[in-house]
């Protein structure tokens, strides 16, 4: 009967420690999310303002991806965005061990969708999102950059 009492005490102490552990975990995660969401927003803003090697701004090529798709001559605008975005994001986020996903959509049609390959951004991971809205003939093109938390 005494043993039963002791077991009960042990269970209560273990449960108490468990709740303390959970309560102490939240603050640090919020801070990391804030820094990553700032980074993703700035990166998507900066990326789309850049002047490309075909003389057009990146944002014009994004608009063209949902239009004639030939603003850079023979190169397909959507393919150009995918290749160059991957190069840019692999050289930054992937290098810093931050899994990412970048996609451009208009009216729920995604024409560009890239990620950090083996550094996978799974559905269970928390995401910090940066968005850029580009007005285009009554609809809006949305460029989204998600940085996932490992």
């Amino acid at each position: 009967m005494d043993i039963l009492g002791l077991v009960l005490i042990v269970i209560i102490v273990v449960m108490g420690l468990f709740f303390l552990m959970i309560a102490s975990r939240t603050t640090n995660e919020t801070k990391v999310d804030l820094l990553d969401s700032q980074l993703s927003q700035s990166l998507v803003n900066v990326m789309l303002q850049a002047t490309t090697d075909c003389g057009q701004s990146f944002i014009k090529i994004v608009e063209d991806c949902y239009g004639r798709n030939n603003i850079c001559g023979s190169v397909n605008s959507c393919d150009y965005i995918s290749t160059k975005s991957k190069e840019i994001l692999d050289g930054t986020l992937k290098k810093w061990k931050k899994p990412y996903r970048f996609y451009i959509s208009k009216n729920n049609v995604k024409k560009v969708d890239i990620d950090s390959d083996e550094l996978e951004c799974t559905n269970l991971m928390k995401r910090s999102t940066g968005l850029l809205l580009i007005p285009d003939k009554e609809k809006v093109i949305i460029a989204t950059l998600e940085i996932c938390k490992i």
């Binding site: 005494d2 002791l6 005490i9 042990v10 102490v13 420690l17 303390l20 552990m21 102490s24 603050t27 640090n28 801070k31 820094l35 980074l39 700035s42 990166l43 803003n45 900066v46 990326m47 303002q49 850049a50 002047t51 490309t52 090697d53 701004s57 160059k84 190069e87 840019i88 050289g91 930054t92 810093w96």
Partner: protein, 150 residues
């Protein structure tokens, strides 16, 4: 015998709680130190982003997150000519600027390096910027990469 057994279990539980509380306190202290370092990171990033030596302005309006490429080229010489001044405002950091060229890819250049030899903590942060050439208004993707030593 039974009393000794009960006392032994009670002391065992107490020692486990003691160890846990000690670990908890240590983790809380680490979080506080980390918060101070993050605050220092944010301060430094704002300070670097607002350095008048490298800011880009259009029609006398200073543009946020834009760096003047020509001013940046002479910034390295200015730092070398005034090491004490920059040491007092930047502290123990290593400042690298990454630049993306659509033809040749990423390149990096170290602008300031005051690395501590015996550092106990090293943190890094990244600030995406637009590198604008005022001669032809060409905009390139750049990233300020800062390593803070303490």
């Amino acid at each position: 015998m039974q009393t000794i057994f009960v006392l032994f279990i009670v002391f065992f539980i107490l020692s486990i709680v003691g160890i846990f509380l000690f670990a908890q306190q240590k983790a809380a202290n680490n979080i506080k130190v980390d918060e101070h370092l993050t605050l220092a990171q944010i301060k430094k990033s704002k300070m670097i982003a607002l350095l008048p030596e490298v800011q880009y302005s259009s029609n006398n309006v200073v543009l946020d997150d834009h760096y003047d490429k020509l001013a940046l080229a002479s910034f390295k010489n200015i730092i070398q000519e005034n090491p004490q001044y920059y040491k007092s405002i930047l502290g123990s950091i290593k400042l690298t600027i990454l630049e993306y060229d659509f033809q040749s890819g990423w390149s990096e250049e170290v602008y300031y390096n005051n690395e501590l030899l015996n550092y106990s903590n090293k943190k890094n942060f990244q600030v995406p910027i637009v590198l604008t050439n005022p001669e032809n208004y060409e905009k390139k993707i750049g990233v300020i990469y800062v390593e803070i030593y303490s």
